[in-house]
């Protein structure tokens, strides 16, 4: 990947994530349930991370020195599965077994069935603590890998997230990167309706001792800059607040709650695919 120029990388990611969006929606419709909104808001960051930054080995997913990625908002797992498949962890034909009995593609990430998931998530609020333990182990073992943890804006209402935020700066975990997928929606309403006092989120993480960067989470230039920024090891954990759109990429799916946990019907899926095909 390093030989390609930034514009080429951005073009590659733009094209690829458009296809991934289509696949994500197909997987969820095929399964008959799942979470389109939060998958589409997170896919750009996840794809950029896996295709430009993570040092890992799809043929040896438990390689001890790999960079780690934990999808703490586990309900967005179709975005992770499609990325892992594209990266060669498993055959893309398996994607359509999402949520079926016996499939390793569980409704939420499970490391015992898929090592690359790193930890079981789906109970919101737990991922950052586990990521922190992994980052702490790297410090203890003097290893150079990084640990990334992606959370939802609804998710960070959980108290455990702030316990983790507090201790990560105590341990000076500059090898830990939290990403908040701030898409402005949750289930019972928008963030503004459910928990308006969650803002100012940047100031909150700063107050807990983190370096924070706020970006447009659908702008690949901004995402790549932020990923590079997060690699600077300045003694503090890093937080990237990615301002995103829930359901990003398909006009009628873009909504703070409507497609949180509702699969598209077959007709809606066809419409979505058509829209994604036309998009530039």
């Amino acid at each position: 990947m390093s030989a390609t120029s930034r514009p080429e990388t951005v073009a590659m990611l733009t094209k690829m994530t458009r296809e991934m969006r289509a696949t994500i929606l197909s997987m969820i419709t095929q399964a008959g349930s799942g979470h389109p909104g939060g998958s589409l808001s997170a896919i750009d960051f996840i794809a950029a991370l896996f295709f430009t930054r993570l040092k890992h080995d799809p043929k040896n997913p438990s390689w001890a020195d790999r960079d780690r990625f934990i999808l703490s908002k586990g309900h967005a797992v179709p975005a992770l599965y499609v990325t892992l498949a594209k990266r060669g962890y498993f055959d893309e034909s398996q994607l359509m077994t999402l949520r079926q009995l016996g499939s390793p593609l569980q409704g939420h990430p499970v490391n015992r069935f898929m090592v690359a998931c790193e930890a079981p998530t789906g109970s919101l609020g737990q991922g950052l603590s586990v990521a922190q333990g992994i980052a702490l182990a790297a410090k203890l073992d003097k290893k150079s890998y990084s640990t990334f943890c992606l959370m939802g804006d609804g998710e960070i209402q959980e108290g455990q997230v702030w316990e983790a935020a507090m201790s990560a700066s105590k341990f000076a975990l500059d090898n830990l990167v939290a990403i908040v997928d701030w898409n402005g929606g949750q289930i019972d309403g928008s963030i503004t309706e459910v928990m308006p006092s969650l803002e100012p989120v940047v100031a909150k993480f700063q107050a807990f001792g983190w370096d924070v960067k706020e970006i447009d989470g659908h702008n690949f230039d901004a995402i790549l800059d932020a990923i590079a920024w997060a690699d600077e090891r300045g003694g503090k954990p890093k937080c990237i607040v990615a301002r995103t759109v829930k359901g990003k990429g398909v006009s009628f799916v873009e909504h703070p709650t409507k497609y949180h946990g509702a699969a598209l019907t077959k007709d809606e899926l066809a419409k979505a695919h058509a829209e994604l095909k036309e998009a530039k």
Binding site: A31, G32, S33, G34, G74, R99, Q100, L101, G102, S103, L105, Q106, G107, H108, V110, P120, T121, G122, S123, L124, G125, G154, E155, Q157, E158, G159, Q186, I187, D188, G189, E193, V194, M195, L198
Partner: protein, 316 residues
């Protein structure tokens, strides 16, 4: 079939939301808290009727339970709702701030068991009954249909003076109780008499136990079915009476067999003597994704599976 009507099956969470909205309107002391799952727990039905007494806590269950305790200690009757798994995850807050405090909170856990299906293990409450019934003074209830759910909700508002846990299903359940039936708190609810074997079931699989009993009856077996909906306080006398009447008791639940109603029944029968107890349910394994039907088949919690288990136990 006995006590069966033709009403459309509904989930006990739906029956809960409807009953809470109806009873809540009449009782100003009722307040309802939810943690961003009101559309799923159905507490939204109350929220629509009484928006000023609905408290949206965001995705922060631990705080919700503590706040509910404070409200209860100040004279309110709070219902604090989430999925059973996330409720169970805040066990120690319930232990201290709710139970030990003597706070009259109604903790409501929906999406019980593997019956939720595709979301998988992280969203399945499979240990909540075991946890909640270890808390002194905690009332633990699990209805098997809409009629029973409504009776429990009313009782929790008007009569019950202790902290309580109410366990509800995501999936629809057939009505098993006839019009005019009244629920008696703390009593084993015998749905069907029999002398060879007694199935003691709770929650989602009760209707399947009834169907299994029907199938077994056609084979000449006399099968009693009891609905254990008052898990705590437990009807020791009722269980003892059954244990003295049949050779085998098979307990059936959508919960880990460790700690659930099977354990509760076995604890009693170990002390009173009588029938052998076989605990059937989720056999100390993790849940997984799949359709609710395929998971009930896999765990033998459908009528066919329960009938098989009973046959095996009778043949032992």
């Amino acid at each position: 079939m006995s006590g069966q009507t033709t009403v459309k099956p509904i989930a006990t969470r739906q029956a809960f939301g409807e009953a809470l909205a109806a009873v809540g309107v009449e009782h100003n002391e009722v307040v309802v808290l939810d943690a961003d799952l009101s559309k799923s727990t159905k507490s939204e039905l109350f929220a629509k009727k009484c928006p000023d007494r609905f408290i949206q806590m965001g995705i922060a269950e631990q705080n919700m339970l503590g706040v509910a305790a404070g409200l209860a200690l100040s004279g309110k009757v709070p219902f604090a709702c989430s999925f059973a798994c996330f409720i169970a995850g805040r066990f120690e807050t319930i232990k201290i701030s709710v139970a030990y405090a003597g706070a009259r909170v109604r903790v409501v856990g929906t999406h019980a068991g593997v019956g939720i299906g595709e979301d998988g293990y992280s969203q399945m409450g499979l240990e909540d009954v075991g946890l909640m019934r270890t808390l002194p003074e905690m009332v633990v209830l699990q209805p098997c249909d809409d009629v029973e759910t409504a009776a429990m909700v009313r009782w929790l508002v008007t009569d019950c003076t202790q902290p309580a846990y109410l366990r509800l299903t995501r999936q629809n359940l057939r009505r098993l109780h006839a019009d005019g039936w009244t629920w008696t708190p703390g009593k084993l609810d015998v749905l069907r008499e029999g002398t060879d074997v007694a199935i003691i079931a709770s929650g989602g699989p009760v209707m399947n136990a009834m169907d299994a009993a029907e199938a077994l009856a056609k084979e000449g077996k006399s099968v009693a079915v009891a609905n254990l909906s008052s898990i705590k306080p437990l009807d020791r006398a009722g269980i003892e009476a059954l244990a003295k009447k049949v050779k085998v008791i098979v307990t059936v639940e959508d919960h880990n067999v460790i700690g659930g109603i099977g354990s509760a029944v076995a604890e009693v029968v170990a002390e009173t003597g009588g029938a052998r107890v076989h605990r059937h349910g989720v056999l100390d394994v993790f849940g997984e994704s799949g359709t609710p039907e395929s998971l009930y088949e896999k765990h033998r919690l459908d009528a066919k599976g329960i009938a098989e288990v009973v046959r095996e136990q009778l043949a032992r």
